[in-house]
Symmetry: C2
Subunit: 456 residues, 2 copies
């Protein structure tokens, strides 16, 4: 019989706090009848965000094409019907067949057109891979980059644990670089250089740098100069870049805007930096997490390297077809003048406005609590406040107590990484508008009671 | 910039012939305007098999629940509406939310009920994981079993290359055991024992044995005695079993029936053999390959080991929700008396009867060609005939010439493994009934011309 102690270190060592022990405890409490507010994971539709109507209309038609003939006039708008026909024509065999390993070509062409439209740069459908959410794209690229434990991957601290877990699983070396909390979690060239030197000193050859923009868990949004700095750093040291841009539609502050790595790479005509960019249907305003759709775009990546990604995809055949079509719908929304455009825009604005307000409510509410400091929630779906804790208390214990006493489930900073001696937690900004003020209030009350109880 | 030579051996060494170079050549020819008949992959809906209506009706309703209110009476049968309501209630948040890492609980409960009904044995929903197709389940289990290159996994020769590719990718050791072509590709205890001894001699500790039943690429169907033999062998040597049972509904010969490993394990009350069984929505009569749905059931697997599978699933969050629901629909078809039952049964019978006939046509047609010998196509969707080739010619060259001359795309035996000095190819039995006779005929004509031309 298989025994736990026979399982390799790489598997046992991988940790994924977003669904770790505190979440398991939350589920246990929920089974006992407690109401739990899940702020541990960016899962918008689980907290009441409604799907975009147009997306679901097209998916329903593509699943059951008989509706194209049999549905009475008016049940579906004409442009949803047209989009479904394009999907069925483009996929050739409908949603039930394996697709090309790289993903459906018409979807990859639409993704390339989306990137061209977003950034005003060229994009090659043959350098695009459709993946089961962005996670699987990240994992494919890390798989290429890590041959053994001498291969290092730079990851931000704090980071989204997909990165640390996958590097551990593949037997690579984490090369942490700390984001600067005192300057809104921006990246510092000096910190990057130091991290690289430290890695080299322990025999690690660093292969790539991962950047999450807008930041998870930090909520930071990088400006042009920060992106250019990373590109220059990568060029100087021969590193590949993994640009996790799944929150690109989630930028909250007026004056800020999303700056893609691809756009800055092309502006400076860098031809010697390999760039892998990721996007997803799970975030933004679609929030279609369950559909597991996303893409990976490669730039300055040799064809024989891309062929290896294709091969990795082919071993488990292809990304799920529905997620591929959801990606198509993400990058090709209804246009002005089309029947679905008005409702689509209304729903989009509603989701984004609600998130923008909640980002502000969470940030302001947390900063009003003595002992909690929260940077600007400038983007993404999370706040990552620093908490001052009584001596001997960790953020793990703090978050567990928060859960037990209030039913609010957040993830300790330890799951993302943090400067030694500092403590944080990550909370999403996703609870419904009707609850968010109360959640933040309860958090604050808990904090005061907890620190008082522990002599803080 | 990333270079091909920097990519690790494990990635570069992994091979997946079913989508390998011959298929790439076929796609190239197709782009040049040639008609290609893709017999390389078990992708039924790409060759005209139609989806089961009921499955697609429920998926459409679950994607766009407004149809439950707005669709006129008669557009959907009442039981499809009921099933969609169960899906929406069971998933709590619809298809757009991440599910539990293990998969939706109501689906896992339905899978357990399916196994109980199929085999008359107990099944635990907590030991069931929903996966993106069976492939991802197999990969998760192999990930647990392989710590380093001393860990060996027994795989049949010929085998489905998911196994060899994944073992290579994870840095494990393949421990091949040859199926006996002369006895309809059955397993031999003696061969298994010899394979184990040979592995030990080269320093490999064998951890598990993979069995594909019904066989891919062989088409063999194991009987009770063969399954019992494998269980006894695994017990005697402390091996885990991976039972790939995705073709369980594809048994063609009268008198044969599918025998699950779980049923034999329970009949003999074996409590010390860990069993991992896999099933999928891609094969059988659904043929829903694009939806990437499947499950993994564990027996005699300690809770702390299953927790590691949960963790692996959680790193990329969850299997796609639509594939999970498709799995629900696979295991919970309409019952007699319900409105959809008659059509469902008719469609099911039609698919299976067509496949049964085509299995027979392919087998008979190939055996009529001098120099081709084909075992019974007793199950699954493939024939794996042995071809007698002129000296110096390989099955790779043979299959490439077949493609160039006829447009028929099959996979050389080398992609699956074969006894040294023998040559084979794998063809699916999936071309439409209107074409299958012609395909087999052209194959035979090609064989005669090819061997004659090469002095055979």
């Amino acid at each position: 019989m298989i025994r736990h102690e026979d399982i390799g270190r790489a598997v046992r060592g991988a940790e994924y706090a977003v669904r770790g022990p505190i979440v398991a405890r939350a589920q246990e409490l929920e089974r006992q009848g407690r109401k739990i507010i899940y702020c541990n994971i960016g899962n918008p539709q689980s907290l009441g965000q409604r799907p975009i109507t147009w997306v679901r209309q097209v998916l329903a038609l593509a699943e059951y094409p008989a509706l194209l003939e049999r549905a009475p006039a008016g049940l579906f708008p004409a442009d949803a019907v047209e989009a479904a026909r394009r999907v069925l024509a483009g996929s050739q065999h409908g949603l039930g067949a394996y697709t090309e390993s790289k993903g459906l070509r018409f979807v990859r062409e639409a993704v390339a057109a989306f990137i061209r439209g977003r950034d005003g740069i060229a994009s090659d459908p043959d350098a695009i891979f459709l993946t089961d959410g962005a996670s699987k794209g990240v994992q494919a690229v890390l798989r290429l980059l890590i041959a053994d434990d001498h291969d290092g991957i730079m990851i931000p601290i704090p980071q989204y644990p997909l990165y640390s877990a996958t590097i551990t699983l593949y037997g690579g070396a984490q090369v942490p670089y700390h984001l600067v909390e005192a300057s809104e979690w921006k990246l510092s060239r000096e910190v990057l250089e130091r991290a690289l030197v430290a890695a080299k000193a322990r025999g690690v050859r660093t292969r790539a740098i991962c950047v999450i923009n807008p930041g998870n868990p930090t909520g930071a949004v990088l400006d042009e100069r920060n992106v250019e700095m990373v590109l220059d750093f990568a060029r100087a040291h021969g590193l590949s870049i993994l640009a996790d841009e799944v929150y690109q539609a989630n930028v909250w502050l007026p004056g800020d805007r999303f700056v893609s790595f691809a756009s800055m790479l092309e502006r400076h005509a860098l031809r010697d930096v390999s760039l892998f960019s990721f996007h997803s249907v799970s975030k933004g305003y679609l929030g279609e997490c369950g559909h597991r759709g996303g893409y990976l775009e490669c730039r300055n990546v040799p064809a024989d390297v891309m062929d290896e990604i294709t091969k990795l995809q082919s071993i488990s055949l292809c990304a799920n077809s529905v997620g591929q079509v959801a990606t198509y719908l993400l990058v090709k929304p209804p246009r002005p003048g089309e029947p679905s455009h008005a409702l689509y825009e209304e729903e989009r604005r509603e989701v984004l406005e609600a998130l923008r307000k909640k980002a502000e409510i969470v940030e302001r509410g947390l900063n009003a609590v003595p002992g909690i400091h929260c940077n600007r929630v400038a983007g993404a779906m999370y706040a990552f406040p620093r908490v001052t804790l009584p001596p001997g208390v960790t953020d793990d214990a703090y978050c567990l107590a928060l859960l037990e006493e209030t039913g609010i489930c957040v993830v300790p900073g330890s799951g993302f990484g943090q400067d030694p001696g500092t403590f944080h937690f990550r909370t999403t900004i996703l609870p419904p508008m009707s609850e968010i003020e109360a959640v933040v209030k309860r958090l604050g009350e808990f904090h005061l009671a907890f620190t008082k109880r522990h002599g803080g």
